[in-house]
Structure formats: structure tokens, C-alpha cells
């Protein structure tokens, strides 16, 4: 099981379209993927769960991946956050 904390750096935070991109990416992996913010832990493959974390810019969330493709899953998730979900700001 892998886990890593990551800061949300895009201007709009984990808003609807970003949540959709994240859940679509997470859905490609066999591994279970979880996101935790303020003790609230949700399935990263569930769009409503991710969106309702309401994680604004500057929030720190914890990513967890557990399964046969956990390395690739974690790498893909971190790349999305690092790329600000392709939003440029």
C-alpha cells in the first residue's frame, strides 16, 4: 500500500471538472485508491465523493493506493495534481 500527501495547487481546487478528471483516471486502475482530507476518506473513483471533499487550493490531501498496479496509479494521480488538472493555473 502506498500513501503520499499532496497539496492542491490549482486555482479552483478540487472542483467539479477536476474531480471528474481525477475519478476517470483513478477508474483505469485495479488498485483501490482513496483520498483523505480532514479525516474524511473517500473512494477516488467516486465523482460525488471526491467533489464533496470540497478541497480548495492550498488544502493538503492524502492519497492512498493499494493493489497490483498501485505504483502506476500513484504516479498517474500525482501527475494530475502536479499538472493542476491541465487547467494552467
Amino acid at each position: 500500500m502506498l500513501q503520499q500527501d499532496v497539496e492542491i495547487t490549482n486555482k479552483l481546487g478540487l472542483h467539479a471538472r477536476a474531480s471528474a478528471k481525477l475519478t476517470q483516471a483513478a477508474g483505469q486502475f485495479q488498485s483501490a485508491i482513496w483520498i483523505t482530507r480532514n479525516q474524511r476518506r473517500v473512494n477516488a473513483k467516486s465523482i460525488m465523493g471526491v467533489m464533496m471533499l470540497a478541497a480548495a487550493k492550498g488544502s493538503i490531501i492524502r492519497l492512498e493506493a493499494d493493489g497490483t498496479d498501485e505504483n502506476q496509479a500513484m504516479e498517474t494521480m500525482l501527475a494530475l495534481f502536479g499538472d493542476k488538472f491541465g487547467e494552467g493555473e
Partner: protein, 136 residues
């Protein structure tokens, strides 16, 4: 994949589909709206049956309506076929998003996921929730 048909007043159904399309980046397949206006009321049932045929890929169709007791929901009731065409009233965007997410599961499971999604999406936004989402 389970088809989804929104049966609602005015252009609410098509608007909800456009909201989901905006969020997801593409218009989901097998998702349609039966918009109920004063002009369309007379042949709604016929239109509904024809849309059900288009949307049903063999896994059934989930119908979502706005207000129980109102004309769109009454029409929806006449389209239901327990086990293959099921319906929910009180549609909102969280319910639709959740329904789109889980439409490859069984129809029973989809009904339950959509109902909870819709209910959990209704929140009083107190200052704590507001601060959480704005980062203030």
C-alpha cells in the same frame, strides 16, 4: 449500460444533461431528457415510450423526475416496468452525476446509489462548509 431518462418540467432535464456534460467533458451516452411543457403534454407518454426503446440496451432504464405528484412524475409512473424500468423523484445534479457513475451496475444497485447521492447532495452550507471549499 443502463440508460437514463430525465422526465421533468420545462428544460430542467436537458439543462441537467448539459451540466453533467460540462463536468465530464463529453455528453454521456444513452442519456436523454423528456422535457415537459404545456405544448408537449398531450403526447408525452408516446414520446417517453419511444425514448425508452432508444435508451434500453438490454440492461434497463433509470427514469429521473423532479417532483412526485406533478405531471412529469405522473407520466414517469406510467412508463415504469418493475425490474427493467425504475424511477426516482427529486432529481438533482448530484443524483444525476452519481447515476452516471454507477450505470454499469445492476438496476437495483443503481437506484439505491442514485437516491443516496441525491440525498447527500442536499446540504445546509454553514460557515464551516463554506470555509472548507473556499479555503478562507
Amino acid at each position: 449500460m443502463i440508460g437514463i431518462l430525465i422526465v421533468a418540467h420545462g428544460t430542467l432535464g436537458e439543462s441537467l444533461i448539459q451540466c453533467a456534460t460540462h463536468v465530464l467533458g463529453e455528453r454521456p451516452m444513452y442519456l436523454a431528457a423528456l422535457d415537459v411543457t404545456a405544448q408537449t403534454q398531450s403526447n408525452m407518454l408516446e414520446k417517453g415510450r419511444s425514448l425508452l426503446e432508444e435508451l434500453n440496451q438490454g440492461d434497463g432504464v433509470l427514469l429521473l423526475s423532479d417532483v412526485y405528484g406533478a405531471t412529469p412524475c405522473n407520466t414517469m409512473c406510467r412508463l415504469l416496468r418493475p425490474g427493467s424500468v425504475e424511477g426516482i423523484a427529486g432529481v438533482n445534479l448530484p443524483m444525476l452525476m452519481r447515476a452516471i457513475t454507477y450505470r454499469t451496475e445492476s438496476l437495483n444497485s443503481l437506484v439505491s446509489k442514485a437516491v443516496t447521492g441525491g440525498q447527500e447532495g442536499v446540504l445546509y452550507i454553514n460557515s464551516e462548509l463554506c470555509d472548507a471549499t473556499t479555503g478562507c
